[in-house]
């Protein structure tokens, strides 16, 4: 067991800024990519509808 308390866990032995800065930004980047991927797929499907209605 590495951590005695939640505060100890978040402090990361004084390196909290660096460790959570790394893990947090990575999580945010991946979340953003997933949002962008979904938006692109929705837009592609919408454009498909527009193309097939135009004739």
């Amino acid at each position: 067991m590495n951590w005695g308390s939640a505060a100890e866990f978040f402090a990361m032995g004084g390196y909290g800024v660096y460790v959570w800065g790394s893990f947090g930004v990575t999580a945010a980047c991946i979340a953003l990519e997933i949002v962008l991927l979904r938006a692109r797929q929705r837009a592609a499907l919408r454009a498909l509808g527009a193309a097939s209605h135009r004739h």
Binding site: Y15, S22, T26, C29, Q41, A44, A47, L48
Partner: protein, 246 residues
């Protein structure tokens, strides 16, 4: 049972296959991430020299591996598309680039946050860091070149040339810590030497690397489906798709 793999080299038949595979890759990535984070923070011990700061390794190394690996795979598919004129291969290359760039950014970002407490600086212009930054610019170059050319097949060919030329950079990144003096430490994992780190640390890194790998495949397949739709908009199969799943 024999599977006709060539059937899936057509965008029309690959599109539904990718749709069925994507949820599995995302689910595997999520499970591996949970396991990887548990090992990274609860099973892996505190490092004797670096304290808790070393835990950045659990995303830094997997992201750096993926940044190089995705580039090689991207160049390979772009090259196949260039040589054999196969549309889907080029689309795979285009779909890999943004995720590769993201992995490169994560490697650089976490490296910087690790460098500050350990080396006392966010950035140095040494061989490892500079060649990884060049990798990021190669991804950007590939993507902006493709975005700048209207005809998709011409964009594929131009992109393939830049991707193939840029492959030279990958061994430079990998061996930079051997070839030049650098602040960066040597390879963390070697196939020829026994591991120098604690078993739980190594395991955490490998599980996280697998998670990144599964995520990258899921993201690539998702983007590939959009690219296929964008390019095949006017084909009959794509139009039929709209009626099936609104």
């Amino acid at each position: 049972m024999t599977i006709n793999w060539f059937r899936y080299s057509s965008p029309a038949s690959f599109y539904p296959l990718a749709g069925r595979l994507i949820p599995w890759f995302f689910a595997t990535a999520a499970l591996l991430t949970i396991a990887g984070l548990y090992i990274s923070f609860w099973l892996a011990p505190t490092d004797a020299q670096q304290g808790e700061a070393y835990r950045i390794i659990f995303i830094h190394v997997p992201a750096a591996w993926m940044s190089m690996f995705i580039y090689v795979v991207m160049a390979m598919w772009a090259g196949i598309g260039l040589a054999f004129n196969t549309r889907l291969s080029s689309m795979v290359a285009s779909s890999l680039a943004p995720t590769g760039a993201l992995m490169t950014f994560i490697a650089l970002w976490t490296g910087s946050l690790w460098g500050k407490p350990m080396w006392g600086t966010w950035w140095v212009w040494d061989a490892r860091l500079t060649s990884e930054l060049i990798l990021l610019f190669l991804y950007f170059g590939f993507m902006s070149l493709q975005a700048a050319i209207d005809d998709p097949r011409r964009a594929d060919k131009a992109g393939a040339v830049i991707a193939l030329v840029g492959v030279v950079n990958v061994p430079i990144i990998y061996f930079s810590v051997k070839w030049w003096n650098t602040l960066h430490q040597g390879a963390s994992v070697s196939l020829t030497k026994s591991p120098t780190m604690a078993k739980a640390m190594l395991l955490g890194m490998l599980v996280m690397a697998l998670a990144f790998w599964m995520y990258s495949i899921a993201a690539m397949l998702t983007r590939l489906r959009s690219v296929i739709l964008e390019r095949e908009r006017t084909s009959d199969w794509a139009k039929g798709l709209k009626e099936q799943q609104p």
